[in-house]
Symmetry: C7
Subunit: 224 residues, 7 copies
């Protein structure tokens, strides 16, 4: 099936191999973002994101966001895209409280974001250049999910996105233990981020715990 | 009829051979998805889908979805596309219950999805990069159908989509017996999936039975 | 009038010879469809369509559709397109009953479909890749019509569309007799289809009769 | 003024010579249509259109259309386009009766069609690939007009459109006499059509007369 | 500023020299139209337009149009475009009478047409391929104006548009005298048109007079 | 960052150097317009615009426009564009009187035009090919501003736009004296326009004075 | 992943490296803007912007804008874009006062502008070619933020945008002291701007103070 001539001139979404090229390119934008990690045990979920090396007189960018009392999120990729998706998550959570008068569960929150991201892959607009990691707690317990520019989502106990994500994930996989404490987890994600970025990094953390059912951003100092 | 010059510059849907090229490319996306099988006897319909080899700390993706009490579905292709189509099926089923106060029959469900998929082939948007297999039971008995990105649908007793679908289908055709039990069917679809993917795969199954008139997802362990 | 340069870059519908190229390409899609025949006498109209060679475990696709009690249709080309046009015909027929409380006549049904198809040739969408043959009976008697992707329609006593349509039509023309019985007609369309497709084909038939004023799909077995 | 580079990339309507290229191409589509003639005297107007050589088992296509009691029309070009324009004319005539309770006059009918055709030359849609000849009678007497894809219209006593239009028109001009009878006129248009199409053609005729103020389609046999 | 590469690919309106290329091409369409003249003295304004050499059995096209009792207009370029603009002028004049209960003045009429034409140069539609000359009388006296495809308008005592406009204008300029009679003016415009078109032409005239405050189309015979 | 391949095919607004190319081209259109000058002292503001060399029988185009009692404007570039912007200014001024019952101040008038022009640079339409100079008097005193196709505006005591603007501005800068009289200013702008256009030009002037708070167009004769 | 062929023809937002090319080009437009500085201590925030070297008879452009009593802003890039964003900020601030009856806080103001800018990167319009620096005081104290064309924003104590921004920022970083006075800060930003622009520049300043909670534009003379 070689139709290079006309094939190439219509407003193509798929390339000849059936790949959504703009989505692939958006993933490359994610791959340039700051190294970002998610880690979950039965007791808590931790999200950690490197704050890109900054300069003097510049406040470090916020990388860990509270979505609702019981949910936090972080992301990697184009900062404007990450922020827009975080806003979208917050809006979804608030609407849920307004309509149902209960905190949103993680799966519903996740599905909303997936649909939102997916719709930007169907039309002649651009897909978002950002992946998001959500940490939350609901009736099903502690939850950790990753959503990609195509709207694809994953559940698990350990994720890494952004620069050198693969190498960082290796560190997480090797050091992960189901009975870790939050402190041990922070030490591990710190090790993972610093390992791939060449030493001492500024890292922001957020944790949601099964017992408190609350998400809290940790002071940046915690990582130093 | 050789009009390469202008021919190539308009927003072409058809190529010079009368093929819908974006639909063909979308099918290639399906061909890269996880191997997915549908198998039907008079007593039951089974849908089985390989859970793509995952890594530690990652929960296997859900591949078998309940659409309604009496209908389940699976798919192969872009995950975001599969999920969107599953949502569309669920919505159709719910609307039907709401409006008619009866469970939706498989043909109506199928037609709705076909029209939805077809409409994305007519305009300057992209066709979905996913095929779906639906298993259900209604007044006409047990039903198994496959729907492709163009909205084309097929009825039958054995389907395979995704990677190495042709080879997997051979295994199904050879091992199929109209009086199989669910357990034998699971063994057969497992054999088909593992045969083409090089041994031991993680496979999710779902079954709908004539007697119970219910669809149920089977624990992943069933395949091990 | 040689304006190859700019000519080629605007969203062209016509090529330099005044041909609607996308419509021509759509006709090529029809030419790849299953061989499909329409045949009419004063007493009945028969539509016959080859069911494309299928594989085991796959139910043959439905090729003959009842539109209303007194009208049936078949088509050739992209299956998703055929199905959408069949739905459109059914909708038109139902609306007519609802509004006028009488069965729709074939000319009105035909005109509706022609306008629908034509409108898809005027804008930057794609024309349908399917031709349709309608067989019906109304106050004017038995009717047989063919509609092409451009919305052009023909009335007559013998049509063939799809693969090898020209050769199949030759067989029909040679064997046609105004006083044929339905059985003889079925034998003739079967001969026409099998002749071009290399022997024994699975063929679905539908017939509408002047006396009963009803359309009925014939069991596939009739052709064997 | 040589601006080949950018010139070519915007959605051009005009080419560098100031010609509307899509309209020119649409006229070429008309030039491939069946030879069609209009002829007028003070007493009547006749429209005659070759029914393209057909095959056995195919009913000749209708080429002469009644628009209203006192107006008929014919056309040449893409059949789907001709039919759509005929429908447009009928709708305009009916609306006029509904709103004003009088039969529409030919100039108003003509202007409506011209505006309709013209609007399809202004935007990024395609112009119609058909020319229309209208014959009618109103308070101003017998009228004969031709309308082209650009919406341009002409009044006169003799027109020819479609294949070999120029040659056919020569025959008309040579044989025309202001005091012809309808029969003589039919003989003349028949001669004109057959002369350019190589003998014995199937021709459909329609005539509107000053005395009856009615348009009537003539049986095809009249031309044989 | 040489940006040939990207420059060329966006939907350009301006070329690299800052010219509106589609407007320039539209002017070329005007330049192929029939030679058309406007001539004004304090007592009257005359508009004269060559009726393109026609053939037998074809009524000469109307080239001089009454817009309102006190205003007439003519045009050159694509006939469908000229007619649409004439309709626009008539509509504007009628609306003015309806709303203000007074005849429209020429400047208001002119401004409406200019805005209408201009708006078609701003978006991705095509500019009109026609220029218009308006002759009217209002409280400011006799008026003569020309409007081009870009919406640019001119006031004056002598205009020529269409084929060989420049040469025709020379004749007008040389022969013009402020105290001409209508008959002398008609002789002059006739000479101008015939001079550039090679002798004896069919010309239509229209005149608006200060004393009668009426516009009237002159019989074609007047020019012979 | 060399992405010539894809880079070039999307609907680019910026070129690779970050320049808005259509705006740059629009400025070139302005640079071909008639030489136009604005000059301001504390007592008055003068706008002067060359009336492009005209021919006999053509009235000079109006180049100086009253916007409201206390504001006048002129412009250079595409005449249709200038006129549309002048209409926009007049509408803004009238709306302001209607809503607030006070004459509009120059800054508000200017801001409205800037936003209007700017919006045409953001979407896939064309920017206006015209610059405007406004002279007005309000509570802040005499004001003179220039607005460019991008919506950028400048305040000052001396401006020149159109052909040979830079050279004309030199003349103004050299001859400017804060205590000039209107007559001296007219002499200076006349000198500036004629200096670059090769002698004796037809120039139109408009002046707004601090004492009268009125704008008035000066008779063309004043410049001779 | 080398898909140069089709890849290049769709309406690309991302290039093959996953970069938003139009946003990158917009940033180059910012890099040509006037050198603009923001500087913050606990007591005040200062924004300073070079007024591009102007000519005689031209008033220096306003570069420092009051958004609300307690907030000021400046920007660099296309002037029309800067002005539009300033208007957007003012509107947001006014709407906030109207709806909540309190002055807007800097974070809310910032988020509104970020979303506005971001939305122009998602569709087929152009991103703004301007970056903005906002200085304000609210309940969280003195605040200084920078927003880029992509909607990305930064908080900090020292920013530089526009021409030679990197070099200017070096000067700021070297000279910055947390206990500076406003006068010292002005001297520093002046030094930074003049250092990169080659001596004596016209610079506009604006300052917001913790004690007064007011923003004020400083007279230009302050910098001389």
């Amino acid at each position: 099936m070689a139709v290079p001539e006309q094939g190439g001139r219509m407003p193509y979404f798929y390339n000849t191999e059936g790949r959504l090229v703009q989505v692939d390119y958006a993933l490359q934008a994610v791959g340039r973002g700051s190294t970002t990690i998610g880690l979950k045990t039965k007791q808590f979920a931790l999200i950690s994101s490197q704050v890109k090396p900054t300069r003097s007189l510049l406040e470090p960018a916020e990388k860990i966001f509270e979505i609702d009392e019981h949910v936090g999120a972080t992301g990697s990729g184009y900062i404007g895209d990450v922020n827009t998706l975080i806003d979208e998550l917050r809006l979804t959570a608030q609407r849920h409280r307004l309509v149902y008068d209960t905190p949103i569960d993680v799966v519903t929150l996740l599905r909303g974001l997936s649909q939102y991201l997916h719709s930007f892959t169907m039309y002649t607009v651009r897909p978002f250049g950002a992946s998001i990691v959500i940490a939350g707690v609901d009736e099903l317990g502690v939850q950790l999910v990753q959503i990609d520019p195509s709207g694809t989502n994953f559940k698990g106990s350990g994720f890494a996105i952004g620069q050198y994500a693969d190498e960082a994930l290796e560190t997480i996989k090797n050091g992960y233990r189901p009975d870790m404490t939050v402190e041990q987890a922070i030490a591990l994600t710190t090790e993972a981020v610093e390992g791939v970025n060449g030493g001492r990094s500024q890292i922001e953390h957020g944790v949601v715990r099964k017992d408190t059912k609350k998400f809290e951003r940790l002071a940046l100092a915690a990582a130093e």
